[in-house]
């Protein structure tokens, strides 16, 4: 890899100096700040997503701890009502949009192209753009901490008409809700852009022989998730546009006095909102479907059914949104229909659980840390799923809705589900990404702390909910029978917090000092393990040819065939002038920056500034288009045609 040779831009004869307007000069730095700001490398973008997401996870976690401190004892005065409301709004918004989703996106970016044997995503610059948009949205959402308006205090689903200027503005020009609207809007654009890119990448950039039914499950779930994002975000985009128009231009979408119907917001939000929760869980299920077979040393049990049920969950997910609205008086027929549809989702989800157990059955289970998190996932997610089914029984939900029972349900599926799987994924792919291995002792210790802390925090919430404790309440009275359990929850949250702290500390330590790991430390099954760690810029010296599900496993067990094929592809590639890589570019960050600036001016009602921001977006996009994709060639030493260049 050291012997990477670079030639000029594509389309130039070697040696001819390219003449380009200065504005189109491509940055070429491979290290340093500029290299990160202009990167188009899916791995670096994945890393950016991952680091931002983990930082925001800590922020969201701290907000959660504030919530728990306030609720530790009845009628606490730690936070005011107002601050508390801001806390849970930002806690949820941060966790969902700034932590779990981008953490999934980090894996999509980093792992998915490696799993399909690609050298990058289909539109590398667009990929960078998606990240910078994400960061812009995140900044906008969090600006409230530093200005008079404060953070939004409307709950993460912002039910109208509480979000209209009449009810949410504390003073003229209060922009907290506008920040929420703009932030989510931009995050939505980012997610959609990113997902379109993933869809094209997965459909179009698969290695030879990698048919759809040989895709690793994680890649499949990436695809399904990308579809969910692309098809559900428009609904919230429209809802937010309508709200923005109401707040800024005096329209009447949710203006009750002019006949507006707030219930419309609920529908539009949950048309997005329910697919959104599957956007949070499907990548997690994908990760689990990679981890379990690796550590059971067996192929996934019932691969086609797992894939099909994933797609099925995604599809059904569009038909159940009103289960968040069982108490809005939809009438008997509608309630019944959504109730049954919701229950139906338990079937494909159950299928996945059964198949994971089937995979474990008869395996040689290696109880490494990722496997612990994966098993924890199966237990905890199942548990959360069951409380989901209890919600789905609409009349029972009439007692549970808006109570801590719901809080318990969704933390079980979100933490016990999504978060556990993502933590498993970090552990699992850490050696690949950084070439170092996390210590088993500390890894397991953090697992047990997190596992115990999590259950101590959230299990009692079921009882609190059934005992009538409503959610989103800054204070509760001491005579309601909720005191003891709330204290338990708070203690649990701190155990959980310590677990998370240990987890992070271990990761940081390992990054600097951890034990070096060789290639393929887990005896992996999928293509990402076939490359050196950390992966070189161009990922694969040789694009692999795939014969079977679990392509790398097959390669390892058919060395001669693999070597032959690799020699052939090396020759083919060399005849095309080497490995083609996309050039870096300034315009993704410039364009996203324009949107950030425009949005910030807009929420402050400075229209010329907003227009200037839009103009910057436009200029950025034009220059982007005229700049062209660019590209250069690399010639890794091991990919020179010649005998004996198998990977193994």
């Amino acid at each position: 890899m050291e012997a990477t040779v670079k030639t000029d831009f594509i389309g130039q004869e070697a040696g001819a100096e390219p003449k380009r307007a200065w504005i189109f000069t491509r940055p070429t730095a491979k290290t340093g700040l500029v290299s990160w700001l202009t990167t188009v490398d899916h791995k670096r973008i994945g890393m950016l997503y991952g680091c931002s997401a983990l930082i925001f996870f800590l922020v969201g976690g701290l907000e959660a701890l504030m919530i728990r401190i306030q609720l530790a004892v009845p009628n606490n005065t730690f936070l005011t009502h107002q601050k508390y409301n801001e806390m849970f709004t930002m806690h949820a918004t941060t966790m969902i949009f700034l932590a779990i989703m981008p953490l999934s996106a980090a894996f999509f970016n980093y792992i998915m192209p490696l799993q399909i044997g690609a050298r990058d995503v289909a539109f590398p610059r667009l990929n960078g753009f998606a990240y910078w948009l994400f960061l812009s949205g995140a900044i906008i959402l969090n600006i409230g901490w530093f200005v008079r308006s404060g953070e939004p205090d409307i709950g993460w689903f912002g039910y109208a008409p509480l979000t209209t200027s009449q009810f949410s503005n504390q003073f003229p020009g209060d922009m907290s809700t506008d920040l929420w609207v703009m932030g989510l809007q931009i995050l939505g654009v980012s997610s959609v852009v990113g997902s379109l890119n993933f869809i094209v990448t997965i459909i179009n950039l698969r290695a030879p022989g990698l048919t759809m039914m040989r895709l690793p499950v994680f890649t499949w779930m990436t695809l399904v998730t990308a579809f969910l994002i692309v098809l559900s975000f428009p609904a919230i985009t429209i809802a937010l546009v309508e709200l923005m128009m109401d707040r800024n231009f005096g329209t009447n979408f949710f203006e009750v006095s002019n006949g507006g119907l707030p219930i419309l917001w609920l529908h539009l939000f949950w048309v997005f909102g329910h697919p959104e929760v599957y956007i949070l869980i499907l990548p997690a299920m994908g990760i689990i479907s990679e981890v379990i077979p690796t550590f059971a040393r067996k192929p996934l049990f019932g691969y086609p059914i797992i894939v099909f049920s994933g797609a099925c969950i995604g599809f059904l997910g569009f038909g159940v949104w009103s289960h968040h609205m069982f108490t809005t008086g939809m009438g008997t027929v509608a309630t019944a229909a959504f109730s049954l549809m919701t229950m139906a989702i338990a079937v494909p989800t159950g299928v996945k659980i059964f198949n994971w157990i089937g995979t474990l059955w008869g395996g040689h289970l290696q109880m490494r840390t990722p496997m612990m998190f994966a098993l924890g996932f199966v237990w905890m997610f199942m548990f959360g799923g069951f409380s989901g089914v209890m919600h789905a029984a609409a009349p029972a939900d009439a007692q549970q809705h808006g109570s801590y029972f719901v809080v318990a349900h969704f933390h079980y599926v979100l933490i016990g589900g999504s978060l556990f799987a993502l933590l498993a994924g970090i552990h699992y792919w850490f050696p690949l990404i950084f070439g170092r291995r996390v210590s088993e002792f500390w890894g397991k210790l953090s697992f047990w702390l997190i596992f115990v802390g999590f259950n101590v925090t959230f299990f009692p919430m079921h009882f609190l909910g059934l005992n009538g404790m409503p959610r989103r309440t800054a204070v509760y009275d001491g005579d309601m029978g909720w005191n003891g359990l709330n204290m338990v929850c708070t203690i649990g949250a701190f155990i959980l917090g310590i677990g998370i702290a240990v987890y992070f500390a271990v990761m940081i330590y390992t990054y600097f000092r951890g034990e070096k790991s060789g290639r393929d430390p887990w005896d992996g099954r999928t293509l990402e393990w076939s490359i050196p760690n950390p992966p070189p810029e161009h990922n694969f010296d040789v694009i692999p040819t795939v014969h079977e599900l679990d392509a790398f496993w097959y390669e390892k067990h058919h060395p001669e065939e693999t070597a032959r094929e690799q020699a052939a592809s090396i020759r083919a590639e060399a005849s095309h002038g080497g490995i083609h890589m996309p050039s870096q570019s300034w315009f993704p960050i410039l364009t996203a920056g324009g949107l950030l600036i425009g949005a910030l001016f807009f929420v402050n009602h400075i229209i010329p500034g907003a227009i200037a921001g839009l103009a910057l977006v436009f200029i950025g996009a034009c220059l982007w288009a005229f700049e062209g994709p660019g590209g250069y060639h690399v010639h890794p030493a091991s990919a020179q045609p010649g005998p004996g260049h198998g990977n193994h």
């Binding site: 389309g11 379109l196 428009p234 009447n252 002019n258 034009c622």
Partner: protein
Amino acid sequence: MSSHASAIDHHHDLTTSTGIPNKKLFMWAFLASDCMFFGTLISTHLIYRLHQTPNSPDPRAVFSIELTSFSTFILLMSSLLMALAVNAIQKGNLRTTRLTLLGTIFFGLIFLGCQVYEFSHFVSEKHLTITNCIFGSTFFTLTGTHGCHVAIGVLWLALMYVRTFKPANADAGRKPWFALSLVHFVVFIISLVLAVYLVLGLVHTAQTEGLGGAGLGSFAGSHALALVGAAVCLVTLVSFARVRGPVDFGEANAIDVESMGLYWHFVDIVWIVIFTAVYLLEYI
């Protein structure tokens, strides 16, 4: 720069797994997403039509179906030109491509002009504003969002048009093509403004005086300067459209034009739905 010698297969791209070019796939996925986008927006409008508010005006008294039918027709014609542009570039026919692109832009602008006129007419004559009733809010937001899509499409078309002048790489250093295209673009913007202005004037004349000889006469009289300006602009644009020297743009870029075309056609079919659901349904 793959070789121009070998024929380009426009429906298959051998470098991708499915044979579908990346850009085309991207565009179709985006359009699928846009279906949901307009779906929810149209739903909002229809829901509020289902539950009318007392202060909502009678849409029939507001709409002018003649104008809307005209702009629907215009949009259809622009779609035709767009399809022809794709057809032309796929055969490497740059000149036809440029002309059809210009034609598409032109029709797109007329559509936008009609919409601007419609909006200002509704506001000033029919007292339907975005704030005074729900019908106004949903109507303007829906058609306005569609209009934004058209406007973005027009911008895109214009950029594509400018791009067709980028000289082939060998000449990159010599020709100030970028500066030229900026001039070009400015001319284009001027004609854009003029076109909107003229269409507005024309429609207004049609409404007030009818399109008889007298009407046209008075229209030409009062808009003489703009007409001359527009003519100059058009001539300039057409002269820019001449092919001079080798350019970068060619058959290989057909996919760019084609994905732009997909977008444009989609905007057109959204209008087909809006025309039926928002306008025509009010008349039964």
